[in-house]
Symmetry: C2
Subunit: 418 residues, 2 copies
DNA sequence: GTGAAAGCGCTAACAA
DNA sequence: TTGTTAGCGCTTTCAC
């Protein structure tokens, strides 16, 4: 077993709930290593070797010990007990010690609801994502959660599965349950969402975008620019007939911006992104397959298909293999996001690297900064990066016989899949 | 815009917070479609077209309207207002209507902390996963969250990143913050975790396992059996020299069971799983690469490598390609989990299909059943399924020249990637 | 079916 | 530094 049950130390750091490894940004108090290893009074005396004076303390009607029980056992006032646990520097070491001892003996665990009600702080933040079922978002959530934990915040997550009407319900539900701040994806949200959040003055961070929102702050990158840059790379390979597979563009400015980034780059070359070559599908592997099926059924086919996410691209790639279409010889495919698997497909997927983890990390920092009204530093510019891999090849018409296989202008590179 | 601001209906269902699409399991009350579309009073009168009598209602010190404000405006008692929102069947339709009107006018949003404190229910559950950075877990969390939402519960997630000592901190922190139930992965947890949860009588569901825990219930499948079955399939291909790539087995009974399932199946054939061919690595693509590097550097190589997760397998597969090792001709590779991408690798990955989404769904149902003390039906037996795909081929020694490429005894099949 | 009132367990102001 | 006390906003008896 990892913990010494005898160890006497605090779960508590300054005005901050249990658990968090307060990073260097945190106020003074117990260090990470000192803190957090509070054992719990076992169910029966027989089960514990703790110094048993668990005694006949009168406890609250719920059965669980309350701070009042702790104070009584420690023979200090309620206030002192509260202070000891919230900010140990507010009480004498001796008081602290007695309180901690009582906490340990009783197996006391704070009541977050009471804390929240009295202090109007929940130390949790909400994050509503389009879906958790997307590696890029999962990565970001992962980083978000880890960073928040470091600051002492819990993460409440939910998703609306791209059903726009659900977002408000979801956000409302989360706000109702109580969070100190909120993270959403994109700038485009029902006005009710903004109204609700603004009315409550809830700190808000919008991710995955740089657009100016009617309320809140953003942490992200330019979807349009990323798509533009990637498209330039595609155009450089001589492609003129380009199709796009994207998610629904309605209510999703990210999808729209990616498409417009592409059409802008094409326009600069005097090319037009044909509307019938913009195919909307659910952002899944299956969606990619279906879209590619439609493309392959077309009379005139594009020579390059740019997918709005790697997941779509993987589906598209797979469909090509099924139909015996050689990628990139007969058709080039690009993705977007650069998920870990993008570099492992066959052929490896050309894509745009999106700083998913950074978005999570910096949105957490930004949000905590807003909540605690302290400066955690401006989030740096988050950059995308075009990653050329073998799924993007020269357009068939320009193909020289001798460079039929695997000849690339840029070398295939691997990013962030370590 | 999707919502009619004028719409007058409830956000509230019986004793259950806003939002959830109460499924058929829910008690009576507003239907999903009736519910939840409560607009919020906009910041300034100019911003809203609401029937403005927003008036000079004295509001609580926080600035936000409270139930008391609602009651006053509706001209009913606090109690009635509370009842109207918690269980509309407890008040007269007329009362309800007036309350709802007041709610709408004020843009009232319930205070979850106060609710939780008074009712001792938070309508949220905690889930602590090893990591969110694993498609199998992400799938499961996704299903979990969706199902919980249907029941009116919020999901608080956190991960311990396979650092066993962190789990207790994480669990404690979540419990402190307040949840009505808890979901963990596996049966093996520090006794402090069990002590804490047991002491608070917190409903507990352990997933991804069938082992009997000291406290709580399980929803899962047999890791040992799944590994056993897959190994039988490998053995049937004539492999005798089998290596295993797994995560750390310490504190992880799932990893141990998978390994022992393999060694048992081998033992039945009089084969031994060599300890030096059991390679522990972090459960990532990178871990799979590193492990395969080690294997390829060995004097005598195994003919089949069984990976404990698809992610590891994908890394291993990739490493083989990098080193020019043909899969499955020179080496067979299997995974575990059957993530969406398993069927899309080249060659497609033989693996065991794990009912990840079902685990999420049923653990949610089980937990809610425990919390609300109602019978939501016993979770059905969750079954794994061996999925033979091309990465598993005959052992090189038994290889007939004419079946060198792609000859399989079972046809490659695709599961659950639609 | 409704109103009045007593907490839920804690924090934070204020005195001492 | 410590103790006292008044709520935080809601649910839930308990009478009526």
């Amino acid at each position: 077993m990892v913990f010494s049950r005898m160890r006497l130390n605090s779960c508590f750091t300054v005005a901050r709930p249990t658990g968090p490894a307060c990073t260097s940004d945190g106020p003074t108090g117990f260090s990470y290593h000192e803190a957090l290893h509070l054992p719990v009074a076992a169910t029966g005396p027989a089960l514990t070797t703790s110094p048993s004076k668990i005694s006949s303390m009168p406890q609250s009607p719920t059965g669980r010990p309350t701070l009042e029980d702790v104070a009584r056992l420690a023979d200090v006032s309620l206030g002192s007990a509260s202070r000891a646990l919230s900010d140990s520097s507010l009480v004498k070491p001796k008081t602290l010690k007695r309180v901690m001892q009582a906490v340990e003996q009783l197996g006391y665990v704070r009541n977050g609801a009471a804390r929240a009600l009295a202090s109007r702080r929940t130390f949790s933040v909400g994050a509503v994502y389009p879906t958790l079922h997307n590696p890029a978002f999962a990565d970001s959530i992962h980083a978000l959660q880890q960073t928040l934990w470091g600051f002492g915040y819990q993460l409440v997550v939910a998703s609306h599965e791209y059903v726009e009407e659900r977002e408000y319900e979801v956000v409302r539900s989360i706000v109702e349950r109580g969070v100190d701040g909120l993270i959403l994806v994109g700038v485009e949200h029902d006005h009710q969402v903004f109204d609700l959040v603004r009315q409550r003055k809830l700190p808000l961070v919008l991710t995955w975008t740089l657009e100016q929102p009617p309320y809140g702050h953003t942490v992200g990158f330019s979807n349009r620019q990323a798509a533009y840059d990637l498209t330039r790379a595609v155009l450089a390979k001589g492609h003129k007939d380009i199709a796009v597979i994207c998610g629904s563009r309605e209510h999703n400015e990210r999808a729209r911006q990616r498409v417009s980034g592409t059409s802008e780059a094409m326009a600069e070359r005097g090319l037009t992104l044909r509307e019938e070559w913009i195919i909307e599908q659910p952002l899944s592997v299956e969606g990619g397959k279906l879209a590619m099926q439609r493309i392959l059924a077309m009379g005139q086919r594009p020579t390059a298909v740019m997918c709005n996410t790697d997941t779509l691209a993987i589906g598209a790639l797979h469909e090509c293999r099924v139909h015996g279409i050689a990628v990139p010889d007969q058709m080039s495919i690009t993705g977007y996001d650069d998920i870990v698997l993008a570099s492992l497909t066959v052929p490896p997927l050309a894509t745009v690297h999106i700083p998913t983890a950074q978005i999570g990390t910096f949105s957490a920092r930004r949000l905590v900064g807003l909540i605690e009204n302290r400066d955690l530093g401006e989030p740096p510019a988050l950059n995308h990066e075009v990653v050329i891999r073998e799924s993007l090849g020269p357009a068939p018409s320009t193909l020289q016989p001798e460079m039929k296989r695997g000849k690339l202008s840029g070398s295939a590179r691997t990013v962030a899949d370590s």
